[in-house]
């Protein structure tokens, strides 16, 4: 009986994979977003809705994330970014923060294992944000994953952790000022006089120092649970980005939402291409 069930579910899996592949072949007749960004909102509400314990919503959310990553990489999206933990989230109850950090640590270490999604899809992983705010354990694990996946070139995953756009802008301004200060100190003569007038900070300098500077701007941003705000996420990068807010909670996000997001992107593609040419 068990073997029959196993065979049936294997067959079902292969059939759904085949149908998904056909669907993606149709989708690929139009432009595919280079960068798809996600705000994974609604894990706690999902846990409450399903009468689950604390942290269970985030675990369910992790499985949804893995599925979404697979769908995106299969259809040809090269960059995916996810809002894993905001600096504002540190204001939550310490027990909840610890639960989430423990889950992040567990799943980060999981990325180093053979057969992980990073391995399977050749994903280079970046942890993006003010990593100094993280515990040493999580920071060290993140750095290990970034180093271990640095040689991967097929796809990129940006995990925004201890991140807010405002902090990103402040950090960028700080780095630009430090660079200009070093430029001046290098140009000073032996007697301390500035030999050449330093150039002003330009937009390209600010963008170079953004945490998200390792990827192109997102083409589409999906925030689950129907909320219509960006909550301090990629505010700088979303000038020409389609914003999409399905009402499903993050653990309920499925292939349908990814496909619908891509279709929305395709509908607005010509408009944004025209806007980008005008810049």
């Amino acid at each position: 009986m068990d073997k029959a069930n196993e065979r049936a579910s294997g067959l079902l899996g292969r059939l759904s994979g085949f149908m998904r592949s056909c669907l993606f072949k149709v989708l690929c007749m139009g432009p595919i977003p280079t960068h798809f960004s996600f705000i994974m909102d609604g894990n706690r509400r999902y846990a409450k809705k399903m009468d689950m314990g604390e942290g269970a919503g985030h675990r369910a959310g992790f499985f949804a994330l893995v599925s979404v990553l697979k769908y995106c990489y299969e259809v040809g999206v090269k960059y995916i970014s996810v809002y894993a933990f905001s600096i504002d989230n540190f204001k939550r109850r310490p027990e909840e923060v610890k639960t989430i950090m423990d889950l992040i640590l567990e799943k980060t270490e999981g990325l180093l294992e053979e057969g992980s999604i990073a391995d399977q899809y050749g994903v280079r992983v970046y942890f993006v944000g003010n990593l100094k705010l993280l515990s040493e354990q999580v920071r060290v694990a993140a750095e290990k994953v970034m180093e271990a996946t640095a040689h991967n070139t097929r796809c990129v995953l940006l995990i925004c952790i201890a991140y807010t756009s405002c902090d990103e802008i402040v950090n960028s301004v700080r780095e630009c000022c430090k660079d200009k200060m070093e430029e001046i100190e290098d140009e000073e003569g032996d007697d301390g006089r500035v030999v050449n007038e330093h150039s002003a900070i330009q937009l390209v300098d600010i963008e170079k120092h953004m945490y998200m500077g390792v990827a192109p701007d997102p083409d589409i941003l999906l925030r689950s649970s129907g909320e219509k705000r960006l909550s301090n996420y990629q505010l700088w990068q979303t000038t020409h980005c389609t914003l999409y807010s399905p009402t499903a909670l993050w653990p309920e996000i499925s292939l349908l939402h990814v496909v619908w997001g891509i279709l929305k992107f395709q509908r607005s593609y010509a408009y944004f291409e025209k806007k980008k040419k005008m810049l």
């Binding site: 600096i87 504002d88 807010t164 902090d167 000022c177 200060m181 705000r229 960006l230 000038t239 389609t242």
Partner: protein
């Protein structure tokens, strides 16, 4: 050799026919989506009529005190329609919204700000208000006009201002962390003219739901609602958007 070429040619033709079939399917999917959107737009038009005629009673009472500052993003190509913009502002004034920022990426609205303010009976420019006016309950409509130059370029100007101050303080340990804070960057932005507060709600009158470069520093927790194009603006849809905003509850990350 001939048969190999024939097989290659045949598989090429099959591939082309396959691609054509996929292209047709793709076009059909998008056609169906367009029809769907047309039906939804028609339903929204009917709903808007019912709201503006007062038949849908739940939209009659708006708790407008929650909406302290409203931003309106308009597609630059449509922003030349000054009369439509003024009509929109009059509807908002009747609802009780007094403090607003009008934004379009290319600064078309900035160029027509004088004529827009003139066409409204009781409006002033936001920069004409002083600290006292900002704290008191608004008596007239105060309008701020912004464009892309107040966004990223504003941050660049603020960065240069901060750098000038940083140079004066010289190089000492620990300076970076105390000097470069969100408060300092916010202060520098105000000093270079990017003064407006963070809007509670941002209404987008454009073909796509996108903020089109509205100053990033000011949209941390702003609700962004897509209203469609300016030419299809309706009082009922506007009322519904404001009503839905007043029902939103935010955690601010907590």
């Amino acid at each position: 050799m001939d048969s190999k070429q024939k097989v290659r040619g045949f598989s090429c033709s099959i591939h082309q026919i396959g691609n054509l079939g996929l292209q047709l399917l793709w076009s059909l999917v998008h056609l169906l989506i367009s029809i769907g959107y047309f039906v939804v737009a028609a339903a929204a038009a009917v709903e808007s009529y019912l709201i503006s005629s007062g038949l849908l009673t739940r939209y009659k009472v708006l708790n407008i005190s929650k909406l302290k500052y409203l931003a309106i993003v308009i597609e630059s190509d449509d922003a030349v329609q000054t009369s439509k913009v003024v009509q929109l502002l009059r509807w908002l004034e009747v609802m009780g919204v007094k403090r607003m920022c009008l934004y379009d990426a290319q600064g078309v609205l900035k160029k027509s700000k004088a004529s827009i303010v003139k066409m409204l009976d009781n409006a002033v420019l936001f920069e004409e208000l002083d600290e006292k006016d900002l704290l008191e309950k608004p008596k007239c409509m105060a309008l701020e006009f912004a464009s892309m130059s107040d966004g990223k370029e504003g941050v660049v100007k603020a960065a240069n201002l901060l750098f000038a101050k940083y140079m004066e303080l010289g190089n000492r340990d620990g300076l970076d962390d105390e000097f470069f804070t969100e408060a300092q960057v916010g202060e520098a932005l105000r000093a270079v003219g990017c003064k407006g507060p963070e809007p509670d709600l941002l209404l987008v009158y454009a073909p796509v739901r996108c903020h089109l470069g509205f100053p990033a520093w000011r949209t941390r927790y702003t609700e962004i609602v897509h209203m469609g194009s300016l030419k299809s603006m309706r009082l009922g849809s506007l009322t519904k958007a404001v009503y839905k905003f007043t029902r939103v509850r935010q955690n601010y990350g907590k």
